[in-house]
């Protein structure tokens, strides 16, 4: 009985931890974006420059935060790259002319402001950052 209770507690703790890990990051978009959900695959494609249009043909305008814990967690969790690898990916695109990197900002407040004001924009912030005036995408 003790083993069953301990196992159950461990499972609950694990679920809570997983939920906490995935809840650290919020995907936010401009109010012009009609989507309300997004898959991890589409997050990856957007921030690697492969998905350039929303479903309504509006241009995707992705933005990132410069080196920070939230950026590290975002690229590791959703892009399957380390921060240095993500940076190298966009340097390659610049040097070969095959892509233009996402606009980058120093703070999450600047990210929120940009997304409030820019049609088609999408970015990520930590859950604790104030984000009035933007929509949240649920990550499927």
């Amino acid at each position: 009985m003790r083993v069953i209770k301990a196992s159950g507690f461990a499972v609950i703790l694990l679920v809570l931890l997983c939920r906490y890990a995935s809840a650290d990051i919020l995907m936010i978009v401009n109010s012009s974006v009609k989507e309300t959900t997004i898959t991890k695959a589409d997050i990856k494609r957007i921030f690697l420059g492969k998905k350039k249009w929303w479903d309504d043909k509006q241009k995707v305008n992705a933005v990132i935060i410069k080196e920070s814990p939230v950026h590290s967690e975002f690229v590791t969790t959703y892009i399957d790259k380390s921060p240095s690898s993500f940076s190298s990916y966009w340097k390659r695109a610049v040097v070969t002319g095959t892509g233009i990197p996402p606009k980058s900002f120093d703070t999450e407040a600047e990210i929120v402001k940009f997304i409030q004001e820019t049609a088609g924009s999408v970015g990520y912030i930590s859950v604790d950052t104030p984000h009035d005036g933007v929509n949240i995408l649920t990550i499927e």
């Binding site: 494609r45 380390s82 340097k91 070969t96 002319g97 233009i100």
Partner: protein
């Protein structure tokens, strides 16, 4: 279609594209980046990629590029470039790439202009030292001696990416174009001849500049970014026909790239990256008065890179190149009175990269080489089969 005609089409795109977006164009939209590198090569024996036996500072690159978004679907980019690697480049300034890019959908876009050739995972970025741990890209698959054939073309391409959600995604690019203009190699000795000594000897060891025209060049690349995080595999190939005019002579060599293919694999797991590629080349040279010279070369390598800490990365690689794979031990070369070591290049390399600050890096690299395929010159009697190459390089980026 000549390269000049293609550039005229490109200019038409620029005029119409700029006129259409003139009202909304802001200077802030223009992105400018660049890089500069200076290196030093020293070999214990044999001259390789320059006069390395005496030590060579002829080893640098400078590039500056501009990206101009014109509208949501249209952008223009250009990179000016200058390089020196022994007898290659000599710091002549030229346009590395310049093209209009029209994006129709995620899975279909078009490029027109001078475009870096999609060949293998690393050909397009081969000149940017900042993008890798090592100094020299593996010469078994990316030989500098035939760089002119692969680095860029003037023409058109279609490209795109198909997302398959849980099955990963598929990136493609197919192209048609030409390669025109003088080679950036100043000496025939430093070019094809070092890889194909039999061709050099058939031309009686002439040392001349040459112009390459490769017309009817078609090719493509397909990359599967698999659902396994960090794993991608790809294949690329091209076919081209053209000629090499030896300047100052009446000699023209017909050249057919029947097929040139690279098969690639890369797996990135945290700070460690594994990469392996295979090059297969089937090229034919035709010269009046001598039998056609088929060249079926083969090269491959494996590499492990480790981003140890923020400021330090280490890489080891091993590559093999065979100018003529049916003669891997060089017995045919020996029968022709040439050293058997011409039949292969075996290259074991160890590299260190130090990220001094964000935009300044320093690299150290050592190679243990077995074989003299691709070595400069024809004084075979003085060459050593087994030798070392050391390299040091520093790069800035902005």
């Amino acid at each position: 279609m000549s390269g000049k005609y293609i550039l005229q089409i490109l200019m038409i795109f620029i005029v119409f594209g700029s006129a259409g977006a003139a009202l909304g164009f802001e200077q802030d939209d223009i992105q400018m980046h660049g890089f500069a590198s200076q290196g030093y090569l020293k070999s214990t024996d044999n001259n390789y990629l320059g006069n390395s036996k005496d030590g060579s500072w002829e080893f640098n690159e400078v590039g500056i590029n501009f990206a101009v978004p014109i509208s949501d679907t249209l952008r223009f980019g250009i990179q000016f470039f200058s390089r020196d690697l022994g007898s290659y480049g000599n710091n002549n300034l030229f346009i590395d790439w310049a093209f209009m890019d029209y994006s129709y959908t995620d899975w279909l876009g078009f490029r027109a202009g001078k475009i870096k050739t999609p060949m293998g995972f690393y050909n397009r970025q081969r000149d940017a030292d900042i993008l890798r741990t090592g100094i020299l890209l593996e010469q078994s698959v990316y030989p500098e001696v035939i760089r002119d054939f692969f680095v860029a073309f003037q023409g058109f391409s279609a490209y795109g990416s198909f997302g398959f959600n849980k099955a990963g995604d598929l990136d493609y690019e197919i192209y048609w174009g030409v390669i025109e203009g003088p080679s950036d190699t100043t000496s025939f000795e430093g070019g094809i001849a070092t890889m194909v000594p039999v061709l050099y000897i058939d031309l009686l060891g002439q040392q001349n500049n040459y112009d390459i025209v490769l017309s009817h060049m078609v090719g493509g690349m397909l990359t599967w970014n698999t659902p396994i995080p960090g794993l991608r595999i790809g294949g690329s190939g091209m076919h081209a026909e053209g000629e090499m005019d030896i300047i100052g002579t009446a000699t023209t060599i017909d050249l057919t790239l029947n097929q040139v293919s690279i098969f690639s694999g890369e797996y990135e797991k945290g700070p460690v990256t594994f990469a392996a590629e295979l090059l297969l080349m089937d090229i034919e040279f035709s010269l009046a008065g001598i039998p056609d010279i088929p060249i079926e070369s083969q090269g491959y390598y494996g590499r492990i890179s480790w981003h140890v800490v923020n400021w330090l990365s280490v890489a080891i690689s091993y590559g093999l190149f065979y100018p003529q794979p049916d003669d891997k031990d060089g017995s045919n070369f020996e029968d022709a009175g040439l050293p058997s070591a011409l039949a292969y290049q075996k290259d074991a390399a160890l590299s260190f990269r130090f990220d001094i600050v964000e935009k300044w890096i320093l690299k150290l690299e050592t190679h243990y080489m077995d074989g003299i395929a691709q070595v400069n010159g024809t004084d075979y009697a003085s060459m050593k089969d087994k030798w070392f190459l050391f390299a040091i390089k520093s790069s800035l980026s902005f």
